[in-house]
Symmetry: C2
Subunit: 342 residues, 2 copies
DNA sequence: AGCGTCTCTGAAAGCCTTTTCTGTTTCTTT
DNA sequence: AAAGAAACAGAAAAGGCTTTCAGAGACGCT
């Protein structure tokens, strides 16, 4: 808890310090360190040694000012808390972090005003580009076409088709899920999912229905739209068993719902997966591996979405911009809650 | 999916553009926009209008180069994925975001090499300070005393007592938890917790024991160290009920463990909270509110830890540095799983 | 010896802003 | 009306780096 006024920390060495120590001009020092070819090997050696002795690190701020590119991007998320932003953010951080790019993180807390504020602040810092990460897959307002830097939208697509958006393929995910259940020999498949106000819920249901139709089947009952909660999973399952006791698989709109579904199935004496297969969505580890049996779930490959967004931003900064909504495939992670009928 | 080489985006306006449009010198324009007093009101007006017309935003990069301070800090996390980093990160982002500071996010993925790499990159960008966020409360190696900028450690304290670390008060949290159970009239309290390799597990147990001792009581059985999982919660509870059927409260080391504990209690016919009160740790919403009944849990106030770290970094940058480990109090969030004995 | 050709090196400009200092104008005051 | 004070405007430097251009020295050739 000691308190003290900080000592004058030694300023980092500058290029001119290095040049002085090496006995050359600033220009030569710069060229030597940057691998330019107009420096004699011996001179370069001297400069490199001097730089090492002084622990010289070029000032990226000065470099950015000169080059007009700062090597920074802004990552604008609308809810850090949410479990969807994080993997995307990791993917993006990953794709950038490897190279020479640093990421400014800004959380707008879902507030448009704050978002504008952050955009302005980031532009003031001369970021080379922006990634906007949403918390749900419903389209969101564009930041506008007039920005001086490229923008890529991830997870939540922009409403403007001129923008580039990278999203998980929800329809395809619904198909994948049903295909897996069909492959397990299930044919009486019900769907219990979340809030119909979410595009993700509607699109997954649509995909599921399409895959069933392709197999000449239909859903057991109507898609059970409700809430993204365990409670709803239980309630919907109770109704389902009353009306359609023949059901042999339940595709759930989220892992949370799936947990509720499994709980109630067990309560009613149905075995999972022997009598009824259960499948979740989101592949949220805490839930999938803690449930009994472990839950088969659809993973949206969000890290990959983040990486793809970062990569697209890269190429856009380099001059090649795309537009439209690009949907990336999801994948099924198979665990104990779905097994082939014997 | 249209593809096109981007149009030459109009470069952002510079101060000299503004000055030219307003018909004044660059110096005057700067003074006018920064509220310096040596400008006639009328002139200032002209400049302000010109700046507005050109949507002028001062280049923070240039400003940073000149001022020697960039108004940026580095946030170094060791696992973004982890649920502990995120709230801290939010708190820090919050404390900074309000002002003029932007945050560089770096994830070291728990790798010391990568961490060093990021530190170097951040110093090259001339950040004004660093916050290092850990994923568990065990002490971690210091980044060293020789860094040119202040560093604050959050959640995981530095091994070097000369560094400043902000952590949640785990011992105090253990006391708080037991005090709450005592206040509910419980006296036969057991403790089932996670991996004893974690300081958090040991310290919470220590605090719990101390609070019981203050009340002239002891734990029922030994603290049940094991794993941070539902499975362990179930297993430990089974043993507990066999050996100490008189137990009337279980303090759990995490919400996940608590869920396992509650499951098994229900299976064995014990009612929660009537027969046995159950309390968790971490206050992880998905788990606490989805469980039946909703789970009372200890919240580590991580956002506050983040904010405190940001604030401490602020004052350190301003010149007043502290050192040592500062522990912030936790709080009990009461829900249905703990009620007073009637 | 003189010329052209390379190969190195260094001076200087430029990136954008802030700040200091100097110079000019305007207003008071005697 | 003259002198001094105050108010305002602008030139220039600084911050650290890269890059261009010109100059200097070394070398080979006729």
């Amino acid at each position: 808890m000691a308190e003290a006024t900080g000592p004058a920390r030694s300023q980092p060495a500058t290029l001119s310090d290095v040049a002085r120590l090496a006995g050359v001009s600033i220009a030569t020092a710069s060229k030597a360190l940057n691998g330019r070819s107009q420096v004699r090997a011996e001179t370069r050696q001297r400069v490199v040694e001097a730089a090492e002795r002084l622990a010289f690190r070029p000032n990226q701020v000065a470099r950015g000012l000169l080059a007009g590119r700062t090597g920074t991007v802004g990552l604008l998320t609308s809810d850090l808390e949410g479990r969807f932003s994080i993997p995307i953010l990791m993917g993006a951080e990953d794709a950038f972090g490897a190279g020479e790019v640093a990421v400014f993180l800004c959380d707008a807390r879902g507030d448009a005003i704050r978002e504008q504020h952050h955009v302005r602040a980031l532009l003031g810092r001369r970021v080379d580009g922006l990634i906007v990460v949403g918390s749900r897959t419903d389209p969101r307002p564009s930041l506008g076409r007039e920005l001086p830097v490229p923008v890529v939208y991830a997870y939540a697509p922009s409403e403007d088709p001129e923008d580039l958006s990278i999203v998980p393929d929800s329809v395809g995910a619904g198909r994948l899920a049903v295909d897996h259940l069909l492959a397990c020999g299930r044919t009486r498949i019900a769907h219990i999912t979340g809030d119909p106000g979410y595009a993700a819920a509607r699109e997954r249901a649509e995909g599921a229905r399409a895959a069933l139709a392709d197999a000449g089947l239909t859903l057991v009952g109507e898609p059970g739209f409700g809430a993204w909660s365990e409670g709803w999973g239980r309630a919907a399952t109770a109704m389902l068993l009353d009306r359609h006791p023949e059901v042999d698989a339940v595709l759930c709109g989220s892992d949370q719902i799936a947990r509720g579904v499994m709980d109630l199935l067990r309560e009613r004496g149905r075995r999972v997966p022997e009598d009824v297969a259960v499948m979740g969505f989101d592949n949220w580890r805490v839930l999938t591996s803690a449930s009994r049996p472990p839950l088969t779930s659809v993973d949206m490959n969000l890290e990959q979405v983040g990486r793809a967004a970062a990569h697209a931003l890269f190429t856009a900064i380099a001059g090649t911009r795309r537009s439209g909504v690009e949907a990336l495939p999801c994948r099924v992670v198979i665990r104990g809650s779905t097994v082939p009928l014997t």
